[in-house]
């Protein structure tokens, strides 16, 4: 897998190159600002982009803007956005066009190397990786009405679906069987009035559309 990396902290940039390299992911270009990112993607046509949000010159949300531009220019290009803080507002912007091949994670998650690499691979394959904090914020938004009808366990399962986990991933996270997960999901979709679908990222799409974008 070939990756373009944008991160303005040299320390972190080199660390990420090392972590990704150890997992057999090749960083073909690493840059320190949003303009550099756009140029590098144009030049290298990578399989995946990893970008920081706050970068020079404005140190505001340059990386996010660049990610949105890339989404438009290269539909289907998987992008993982890393940030010191995750904000539901930014997640909504990222997910507003297409939810496949999108990751939005706290930088902290890089520390759990195995989970981070798994999330990167999931996004590269067209899946979704949303930080649990973003999911919590999205759920807060619509905490009223139909969500109140969910049981505590169903609520936990819904949060994990929104993060982009598969049924197996959810089963492992909650230490329950996969068939139990399937039952919970059917209940959730029935209570929320969502169509039941197979593909992982389409489930996320459905959930997110319901939570926020609908």
């Amino acid at each position: 897998m070939r990756v373009v990396l944008a991160e303005d902290s040299v320390l972190l940039r080199e660390g990420l190159v090392w972590v990704l390299g150890a997992a057999g992911i090749k960083v073909v270009a690493s840059v320190g600002d949003a303009d550099g990112l756009l140029r590098a993607v144009d030049e290298h046509r990578p399989d995946l982009v990893i970008t920081d949000v706050r970068m020079p010159p404005g140190h505001s949300d340059e990386g996010l803007r660049a990610a949105l531009v890339l989404r438009r220019q290269y539909p289907g290009l998987p992008i993982v956005v890393l940030s010191q803080y995750v904000e539901e507002r930014y997640a909504t912007q990222l997910l507003s066009t297409e939810t496949s091949g999108i990751g939005y994670l706290l930088k902290d998650r890089v520390a759990d190397v195995t989970d981070f690499i798994a999330a990167v691979r999931r996004v590269a394959e067209g899946g979704t990786a949303l930080d649990p904090e973003v999911v919590a914020q999205l759920l807060i938004r619509r905490h009223s009405d139909p969500l109140d009808r969910l049981t505590r366990r169903e609520y936990e399962v819904l949060a994990l679906i929104a993060e982009g986990r598969s049924n197996l991933g959810i089963a492992e996270a909650l230490s329950i069987s996969e068939s139990a997960v399937g039952k919970h999901i059917n209940n959730i979709f029935a209570k929320l009035g969502l169509p039941n679908t197979e593909s992982d990222h389409r489930r996320v799409l459905a959930v997110l559309r319901f939570l926020k974008i609908s």
């Binding site: 660390g15 706050r54 140190h59 505001s60 949300d61 803080y85 904000e87 902290d108 919590a136 807060i140």
Partner: protein
Amino acid sequence: MSDARLIASPWERMRGHWSAATWLRTIHVMTGVPIALFAAATLVGLALASIVFIWTVVVPVAALALTVWLLPWLTRLQRARFAAFLDVEIPPVPAPEATRHPWRWLSSRVRADSTWRQLTYHLLSPLLSLVGFVAVILAWAACLVAAWFSVETWVSGDERQSVPLLVITLGLLVTAPWLARGITDLDLLAARALLGPSRNDELARRVVTLEESRAEVIAAADAERRRIERDLHDGPQQRLVSLAMHLGMVRTTLTDLPDPAKRMIAQAHEEAKQALKELRDFVRGLHPAVLTDEGLDAALSGLAARSPFPVRLHVDVPERPAPAVEAVAFFVVSEALTNIAKHAEATSAEVMVWRDGDLLRVVVSDDGRGGADPERGTGLRGLTQRVGSVDGALFIESPKGGGTTITAELPCG
């Protein structure tokens, strides 16, 4: 030096008595007469003209306008006299609103209390300066006359008359400057009270300067918070992420280490992640970047999501308030949720923020045990101060066992 001044010898005191300042005071009294007479004559003349020609209506109105127009010039003349001879600046009266509309111009000046105070001074000052003038001139003249006769009687050999006359001369030499000083002090008192700004004007001006300086202090504190947030983001936070990442790598790759070593690495890894989380929460409380970029709604949903208990959030603020108001609103919710987590034993909370005319209303309520006392603990007091810094008001309703509701009203007109 200050000691030498404090313990002045009687001679030095006497010398000060006849210094240049004394002569300037005397001149001040002298010049007061023509200026005061001119001013009073003009004003009285205008008043008489309007009484005599009251039936024309035009003349009184014109006289009134002329009076109102002349007053500041007469006052300026008097202020110049105080500045020139006494070295005293009488602060100028704040000008009533400037307007081109003649009728509004006249009425605003007639209604201004400063107009009537100036008029009082200009009508009073001929009396004061004439009395002063006569007294000071008489004192100096008597002094000269007494001196003259003292010398004459001395020359003609009549010492029994000469000595008392000499005593009178010396006495008058001391008294005349005192008199001049007394008169000028009285004049100064009247001028300060009637020509300067009134206590209300003074207070109004002070309120304006205080408001300005407070706004500057708040802006500076806000900027400082942002700077700290940026510095922490660019420095320690990146370094901690890097540290945690390296420890994470070590933990996953070095699997053949002895168990104690593995345990210690795992613990270091967890500590680093925890430090990262605590630093992130702290920095976010300072001034979240999303508040600047996206406003209250976005920033508050982040806060609500991180609470250890469920929080319902309703934000309805179509138009973004000033950054200082947004920062205070964010701080109110952040502090309130922290307080609830620490003390309230609540199972859920609700945050509502909406625009109500010129007010931004922020309401945070919980279903906890209530009994919150603003007098105890610094949290609620800090909240009140921060809300007060933008002229807002904070209300706390916390009956025992009945939950707590904190309402902040922040003006944002």
